[in-house]
Symmetry: C2
Subunit: 204 residues, 2 copies
Amino acid sequence: MQNKTYHHGDLRNALILEAIVMLHEKGIGGLSLRELARRLGVGHNAPYRHFKNKQQLLEAVAATGFRRLKAHNIRLELELADDPESQLFESGVAILNMAMEQPELFRLMFGGYLSLGKCGPELKEEAHASIESLVKIISLAQQQDIFARGDVMRQTLAAMSMVQGLAMMASSGMLRDNVTGDEQQFKRLALQVYDILLMGLKKR
Amino acid sequence: MQNKTYHHGDLRNALILEAIVMLHEKGIGGLSLRELARRLGVGHNAPYRHFKNKQQLLEAVAATGFRRLKAHNIRLELELADDPESQLFESGVAILNMAMEQPELFRLMFGGYLSLGKCGPELKEEAHASIESLVKIISLAQQQDIFARGDVMRQTLAAMSMVQGLAMMASSGMLRDNVTGDEQQFKRLALQVYDILLMGLKKR
DNA sequence: ACCTGAACACCGTTCAAGT
DNA sequence: ACCTGAACACCGTTCAAGT
């Protein structure tokens, strides 16, 4: 309220939030800086005061998505303190939910739009933190002799791949048409898929 | 040679092939119908004789990608006739290779650009065939008591998810930066990841 | 089954000049 | 830290009229 210097005051955040809305309505291809500016009632070049170009805005949106997942994971960690198996499972469910409820945001985050080699430090940091969180869970599971001892990174990579791949198929509708007609039925199927992952990770 | 009616003769296929080249050079966002036409020396609206719009061209390109994978899988089936475990493994390696050698084509096929609910019959058929091929392999593995008996579709979904997710991470460079620096080392890691999948599928 | 050429509404991005 | 307004080069898509 204090800093409403000219017209808007917090355009940067407003751009990110409205971009998430517009992403959901029109998809990644349908998101344009010009319409974004129009929706917020600012000039078509105002966004350039906060982002060097469209790519940088997309990175900031993706980083916001990762932050939301992180917040959810922190809550999980508190609730399921010493149960890494449930932590892994529930963090996978969270990604699956995001993929079904905000498919376009999910695709922006995990669909390879951001090369992550050329992206800015903000997104890089959030993505890295997201991986670190998984590494921690899996290390814990190994220490508790729930998962087979071994290369932590290998197991982390397996878990990320399975969850990410399943969520991508869910978000792109590859399942509702070819595998099953019922969305509820699909979710049950998805949860069984996680079991196969856990089976591959557990001690035998 | 016979049907070079006016200028080109086989514009439809030329468009698809050049689109794959351009995809590789400029990414999905950089592919435009107008430049495609320019590259082939035809008018900027000539593509509309063969595709209703850009989306339909992209679908045809993706379908071509699926056909290539299918051709590879058929070769595998002959070489590894009664070894479903190797068949599954090698078909996964093929997708991983595609993701690393033609990342943009891979993203077009698996990145959710095509809703598969609203796409034309050609792509739908190829994608469906690609799934069917996996179902066959996994059924065989169950019959030979290599994989645990159970819902074939569940195991198929798990296999597709793992392979697709791993390949997506490979193609978007999420790994070379955060996990390991060496590309060769990554490939070794990837092969170990498949082992975790197989572990989850096998009889215990 | 292609061509040329114009047209429309929309982009991303960059100016210059204002408050 | 925003505005207006013009400008540039590029799109996807649709015409009309040709061969």
